[in-house]
Subunit: 371 residues, 2 copies
């Protein structure tokens, strides 16, 4: 290998990307977001013509938006926090138009209009989901033909460190995203892969494969009432066989877990309880739940034969935050399970319907699996 010296001119990368540079403005050198030493964060956006600029961050509760202040050069700015170290999502409202931070390429890809920018505040509290110098598993993106939807679908798969160099078979956690997310959500913003890497580095969890399918099988709004039925068919009839063919999975229900957040928590309840021959661990995070009568009607067999259900389910873990808008809804689920003596573990956390909680839930749920 010949040594390469500096090639200054050639390395002005931007010049290759943007041949016609506009004249410089305060925007040219603007930095946003900027994490300050005290863990506060300064947000900036260049919008000289705007009348009102606000922002919404998922750490805000009341009021739900914060105003930015205009400087003379047309840059609007606000400092939030200090904030507890974590990965947060936010967006600007420029004269009411919801926009991502133009200076930030850390993006959470949402479903249709719910994409947001993200800011990562490093620190002890978020170390469990940070990218750290530990052995890393791989993330895989797979495209497959779904018989359930009669179309191409996508899913994400995490394999643990050592998967590629060995021949072991691994248990599988099927992990479902929320209503505003895609199959990339659990890694892009949920950091499921880094959470597992870190747990495994500290020997706090069993090595496992995590499969993150797409929870939105139906694009046509008129057909949405069939979503759960089609999702269930896709998961059981297409995804499971695909994964068991393509990856070195350990066989049988004792090696399969199903968990999900919000809409994915509802899917976990509905699909999981209807397929206890396939799954023996369920994790229900901040789930949308049917009302008691409807739930008891749909899952009468599970509730009426609690003895069998309690044998089948090695772990039935239900978690929600105290200020989650689905909190009361979840209490009715817990009451139904209690009334029928269906064993479960209830985890109540602070906070609401936010990723902060879902990352913590995963970090607590995963270590209990496949023991």
């Amino acid at each position: 290998m010949r040594q390469l010296g500096p090639v200054t001119l050639l390395l002005c990368a931007a010049a290759y990307a943007q041949p016609q540079q506009p004249p410089p403005t305060p925007n040219s050198t603007l930095k946003s977001p900027e994490v300050n030493p005290d863990k506060s964060v300064t947000f900036r956006i260049y919008a000289p013509e705007a009348k009102v600029v606000q922002m919404r961050g998922d750490w805000m509760t009341d009021p739900p938006v914060q105003k930015l202040t205009r400087e003379d050069n047309g840059v609007w700015t606000v400092t939030a926090g200090p904030l507890r170290p974590d990965l947060y999502t936010y967006f600007f409202l420029v004269d009411g138009v919801q926009v991502l931070d133009p200076k930030n390429n850390l993006v959470k890809t949402g479903l249709s209009s719910s994409s947001e920018s993200m800011v990562d505040i490093p620190g002890d509290e978020s170390a469990f989901h940070a990218l750290r110098p530990v052995p890393h598993g791989s993330l895989h993106v797979e495209w497959y033909m779904s018989k359930a939807t009669d179309g191409m679908r996508r899913l994400h798969v995490y394999t643990p460190p050592g998967y590629d160099s060995g021949s072991s078979r691994y248990p599988v956690l099927y992990l479902l995203h929320g209503g505003g997310d895609t199959d990339a959500g659990w890694t892009e913003v949920g950091r499921a892969n880094f959470i597992l890497d870190n747990l495994l580095a500290e020997k706090k969890a069993k090595p496992m494969i995590i499969v993150m399918p797409d929870g939105h099988p139906i694009k046509d709004p008129a057909q949405r009432s069939r979503s759960l039925e089609v999702f269930s068919k896709d998961l059981i009839g297409d995804v499971l066989p695909l994964i068991e063919k393509k990856y070195r999975t350990a066989p049988g229900r004792e090696n399969r877990a199903l968990a999900g957040l919000s809409m994915g928590g509802m899917q976990t309840l509905e699909v999981g309880l209807s397929n206890l021959d396939k799954f023996s661990y369920l994790g229900v995070f901040s789930a949308g739940v049917r009302d008691s009568a409807e739930f008891e009607k749909a899952h009468g067999d599970i509730l009426s034969d609690a003895k069998k259900t309690n044998q089948d389910l090695r772990l039935f873990w239900i978690a929600i935050g105290k200020t989650d808008f689905l909190y009361k809804n979840n209490q009715t689920l817990l009451a139904s399970l209690d009334a029928h003596n269906v064993r479960h573990v209830y985890r109540e956390s602070d906070g609401g319907h936010v990723w902060w909680n879902w990352r913590i839930y995963l970090s607590e749920f995963a270590p209990q699996l496949f023991r």
Copy 2:
């Protein structure tokens, strides 16, 4: 498996993602972009307070931006095209603020401020890079500790259909992105994975692994002059050994190709010509090139021993568009190679410095590899 009936209320996914719904506005049901039957595209953004809304799409040449028209309800709209079927990138300028399309979750993640929205116009001309019902390879995301940068880095890897079910070893194409992109660029917008899936389905290319590293090893602007040197060390000293350990690669220089676009084309030239013991195929797409004197000085050994160079290089493929701002720059490279009798293949296309060309170049370059 129990059958699941419709659960209408629960499936209103948005209700779970956004507990506090704002009152409806024309934005609530807005659709953008909308591909019309004649392959024109209608773009819309709700911005009732804005004075001027423009957009820039990578299909535009002169003028480089297009104005949107305000409707009475505060929605701005414009129809572009009909456009040749392809995957295009665009953004809005709302009173001068560069924003992604708030209604579109198809995002090209750029480096810092260069993220853009994308619109996919299906049709015969873009079928070669479309997601089609053919066997699909897998895309892998790997995190690794780089000795060259002394930090964690990320790369993308494509493995062809059949990789997981067999034990064959595969040749490897190392494929480098441009200055405005990340290691996700060649798949997110370049669709390298689908291009290969489609070529392989038609038996037009040899099955290969494609490795897409991160071309920006240095974040600190003051250190940027060392970028090429550090990139080269990372690629040769970290990435190659990682890939050859983790993936079933065929050994030796005859099973390795290096190619890249724009900044990545420059890196291909510089790193490739300095490491002909590692690579025997080079693909230089729309590259930034040193001036003749500098190039001839840096690669005197390659130029002066054309006989050896021509033996070493099974393919030296150089492509650029007629209206690319680097067109003249590339002609000086071609003149240097001609003057020294260094064998190469020159491909001149229509168009400029755009993904349209880079996808075509990859679809023409890959079939020539490892024959």
